[in-house]
Symmetry: C3
Subunit: 134 residues, 3 copies
């Protein structure tokens, strides 16, 4: 099954923790072994895995990317969000997580984040499990 | 099945839209639900998903990366393409796309691109679907 | 099956070639067609694919990232490894490789690397194959 999460972001740049929604989805699927893909059907945000403990890590990642990819940089795309498109390709539009014994195999400090680069917006995040039956 | 696309790039840095080839491949496979992986077996190019409408977005992404990762930067690798190797690891060598009801689940503005960083060259892009049978 | 590799890194920044371990794991699994995911359950390292021939490429990638993401950069996270968290999200926490006829489909010059950004440390790398039975 394909699950669609609807997420409202609240800032231009934001990391939104979606780990618990991903875990809930996995519970609803009857899959003991496989992979779970978290995917955004957008081109100005991404999906990333990073620390779930100290919120300062999220701020450091976002601040670094804001300095690295300036909002105004002599871009040709006229919508004023070329920085968001660039960050989207740098971070990537999906992550793949392992599923074993019916559980998500995340490290202790890992959380799954929607990486908003052109908010505030309403975003979709798509979830799908592929079972391994080998 | 593994499908190999052969693509001739025409510039040192280029984003080549391969979305229609990916869709054609999926049609030829009889898979209703699963994931499709787009992979490059090269180390100086990558695969990325980004906007398929305004071509200026592609130019902005490529120009930004060219400024960020200079061609000559005091590198140790003697072949003169260290910038391309670096960009390859930043962008990544594959993307994973979802398949549902036999169709590629791409957002309205998403296209799949071969990201050439050391062209013009003849490149291979590998496509594979993994069906979910859970 | 889920395989866990235990890897001791020896420097703060290091690319450790794990290609032969990935191939050995695949041999032990009886899968002829599918995908293999290489995943790190950590937030200060990543997984990448790049050149396996000239070791200068690894040095160029690491040096570039060290210059791009400084160790001290006015970060808020107090553990002194914000640079490693940032690099982790830029490089990504997994790669997906294709499996065909029971073999890993890597390009001639491709190797799979654990990208350490906060070593020396003991790291785990998780490997899982998902078989395609379509």
């Amino acid at each position: 099954m394909l699950k669609r999460l609807e997420i409202k972001t609240s800032a231009r740049n934001q990391l939104v923790d979606i780990t618990s929604s991903v875990r809930s989805f996995l519970k609803s699927e009857d899959v003991s072994s496989g992979v779970l893909v978290v995917y955004v059907p957008h081109t100005t945000c991404g999906i990333t895995i990073n620390e779930n403990a100290d919120p300062a890590v999220k701020e450091d990642i976002l601040s670094f990317l804001e300095k690295l990819v300036p909002v105004s940089g002599g871009y040709r795309h006229a919508e004023g969000n070329s920085d968001a498109h660039i960050k989207s390709s740098m971070i990537g539009s999906s992550v793949t997580v392992l599923v074993e014994s019916g559980s998500l195999v995340l490290g202790t400090w890992q959380g799954v984040y929607l990486a908003e680069f052109d908010g505030p917006r309403k975003r979709s995040v798509l979830l799908k499990v592929v079972a391994d039956q080998s």
